[in-house]
């Protein structure tokens, strides 16, 4: 056993996993409040990264300002998407709603390809974010550390939000049954718009981090698919689960890489292992690790 390598991969997994966790939370937020699985999550991410990049490089804004503007832009974008595309589908079967987000993802992907090109663009250095620090012997981009802090903060805020605020409760109620929510005086439209706005904003943040680490390109949208195992492992509607799931997937990928590189020599166990594990875990825990069970009384 190469403990040193194993350990480094473990640390890498933890750090990357945290970032998956942030993206997974965006997912969960939308699901928890609107029962929509957002297949365009990856594109949301990339959009945030592109917008911020464009503001920094083309408008020459300082990063901090660009960041704020990106958040504002994403919030508006989320609301527009919700209002124009998802609102008309309120009450339709879940699968139609899934399909719409898939359509949205196709649309956004090609629009961004068109507007921003299909090459990877490097993020200019912002307060040394592309610097590298050493954590327990592993060199890691500073941006990752920021995302780590960020994910903890976001998680805490979300947790508190859904448990204790009236808007958070309203979101859960809306997700459970729109008619009931309406009868309680909750505006389903507003609730949905708010959920999408928040989720889009957080996606934007995650996108910027990923963009700083990897350069910005449309293919980063694949992170949207990657977090599926994370979200499901954690449980579709659990904020904590999203982060835990993200970390598990991050670590798992890296452990798979180790096993593959050292013994199995399969080649890309790294990408496929999470999906095997996903199925196995679901067989044991059908609602993921922290997902709420449907109440099945008859």
């Amino acid at each position: 056993m190469k403990w040193d390598l194993l350990f480094q991969l473990l640390v890498n997994g933890l750090i990357v996993g945290m970032l998956y966790g942030v993206v997974a939370m965006c997912f969960v937020l939308i699901y928890k409040s609107t029962q929509v699985v957002n297949f365009a999550q990856g594109e949301f991410l990339v959009l945030g990264a592109w917008v911020c990049l464009a503001l920094v490089t083309q408008m020459q804004l300082p990063f901090f300002l660009a960041f704020i503007f990106t958040l504002v832009f994403m919030a508006i974008f989320g609301i527009v998407v919700q209002t124009v595309i998802l609102r008309p589908l309120i009450g339709e079967p879940i699968i139609s709603v899934i399909m719409v987000t898939i359509g949205l993802s196709i649309f956004m992907q090609s629009l961004m390809n068109w507007i921003f090109g299909n090459d990877a663009k490097r993020f200019p250095d912002v307060f040394g974010t592309s610097d590298v620090v050493s954590i327990m012997g592993l060199n890691v981009e500073v941006a990752y550390l920021l995302s780590l802090v960020l994910s903890l903060v976001i998680m805490a805020v979300f947790f508190w939000f859904f448990r204790f605020t009236r808007h958070g409760l309203a979101m859960r109620a809306t997700a459970f049954d729109q008619q009931i929510a309406q009868s309680l005086g909750i505006s389903v439209k507003q609730t949905f718009a708010m959920a999408w706005a928040i989720s889009a904003m957080v996606s934007g943040v995650a996108g910027i981090v990923i963009g700083i680490v990897n350069s910005v390109s449309n293919s980063l949208a694949f992170v949207g698919i990657k977090v599926f195992p994370a979200v499901i492992l954690g449980g579709l509607d659990s904020i904590v689960g999203a982060v835990v799931g993200g970390i598990i997937i991050g670590v798992l990928e890296n452990m798979a890489e180790y096993a593959d590189g050292q013994w199995l020599k399969i080649g890309n166990l790294y990408t496929i292992a999470p999906f095997y594990v996903l199925i196995i875990i679901l067989m044991i825990k059908p609602y993921g690790l922290f997902g709420t069970k449907d109440i099945e009384r008859i």
Partner: protein
């Protein structure tokens, strides 16, 4: 899903239970269906190469979509892995034909049966997992199968893909597209009849029961696990059959043809056509297949008017596919078939409808 009454025209009284359980609800429907098939047979030789190709592909996709509709529309289990099962059928038939010299006409249904088995294996989680969790589990099977195709050189030729010869019937090669069209049409008709029959008999009912209320279905004597997995099997059968037809049509099978995108397209077909409707599946397949080509021409024409668009043509085409899906679902969320039914319903209810 909203409810639309399905009243029969006045005078259409049924005098026996047989009448009440017909494949076609009215005589008109029956003759219309037969008429369309005959028309296709007669007209095919006069269609250009382009349209024959389109019809072949529509037919193939429709078979797969009909299969997916059993799983999604009838049993209510969302699958994001249908494209991979489609691919499995394609590879399996090519494999049987090339490695074992199985005649292609046999290898196709045999491949469908193999796909059934694979589908049931990947359907096992459905015994325990439901709803979106299951949907994502099927997403996993999509990736796992794709990975398998890329790796199993003995079976699929790995990332290089595999050759698949055109079938011959006792020495008579189906080498032209026209001949192949008749083969596809044959299987399509078989699939439509088979699935329609299934839906009006015991197991079809059980599948719907499982979708609508699985707890009570079980108490009514329906073996949940069996039907949940079976529904994967049946749907995979048609995916495999269609895949085999597809492989031998293109004469070459490549991993890249069976990505998540294809799975999504199949879903789009049944949603746009109408969940749970056999005919809807066909309409949906046609829609999804023809849409990009329509958009291609449309954007080309637009590019002539706005030369600036020339460079973005490819993107505009892609975008318009996304946009079409979105717009369709916004304005016609219950599918093409539903619109037809609604027109029919209000027309029959006439003085009493609005």
């Amino acid at each position: 899903m909203g409810h639309v009454p399905n009243p029969r025209p006045a005078g259409d009284f049924r005098t026996s239970y047989i009448d009440d359980n017909r494949l076609f609800k009215t005589h008109f429907e029956k003759y219309a269906a037969i008429g369309v098939v005959l028309l296709l047979i007669a007209v095919a030789p006069f269609l250009g190469a382009y349209w024959i190709t389109q019809l072949i592909l529509i037919g193939i996709y429709a078979i797969a979509a009909i299969g997916l509709n059993i799983l999604v529309g009838t049993t209510g289990q969302i699958s994001l892995g249908h494209g991979a099962f489609f691919g499995f059928g394609a590879f399996a038939s090519a494999w049987l034909a090339t490695s074992f010299n199985v005649p292609t006409l046999v290898s196709m249904p045999a491949a469908a049966l193999m796909t059934t088995a694979v589908g049931m294996i990947f359907g096992v989680p459905a015994a325990r997992i439901k709803g979106l969790y299951l949907a994502i589990a099927t997403l996993a099977s999509q990736f796992i199968l794709e990975d398998f195709f890329a790796r199993a050189d003995w079976f699929s030729g790995g990332v290089y893909g595999a050759l698949a010869d055109r079938p011959d019937i006792f020495g008579y090669m189906l080498d032209t597209d026209l001949k192949y069209f008749y083969l596809v049409l044959f299987w399509l008709v078989i699939s439509v009849i088979g699935v329609s029959n299934l839906l009006r008999s015991r197991d079809g009912r059980a599948l719907v029961a499982v979708r609508d209320h699985y707890l009570s279905a079980e108490v009514m004597g329906v073996n949940l696990t069996k039907y949940r997995i079976l529904s994967f099997g049946i749907s995979s059968f048609f995916a495999g059959l269609a895949g085999a037809l597809f492989g031998h049509y293109l004469e070459y099978v490549s991993v890249e043809g069976f990505t998540i995108l294809l799975s999504i397209q199949f879903l789009a077909m049944i949603i746009i056509g109408g969940l749970g409707s056999v005919y809807g599946s066909i309409l949906g397949a046609a829609f999804i297949l023809l849409l990009p080509q329509f958009m291609e021409s449309a954007t080309s024409i637009m590019a002539v008017a706005f030369p600036a668009m020339e460079s973005g043509k490819a993107y505009v085409k892609q975008m318009s596919i996304g946009a079409a899906i979105i717009l369709f679902l916004i304005f016609e969320p219950e599918g093409l078939v539903h619109r037809w039914q609604q027109i029919r319903a209000s027309w029959k209810l006439f003085p009493f409808s609005r």
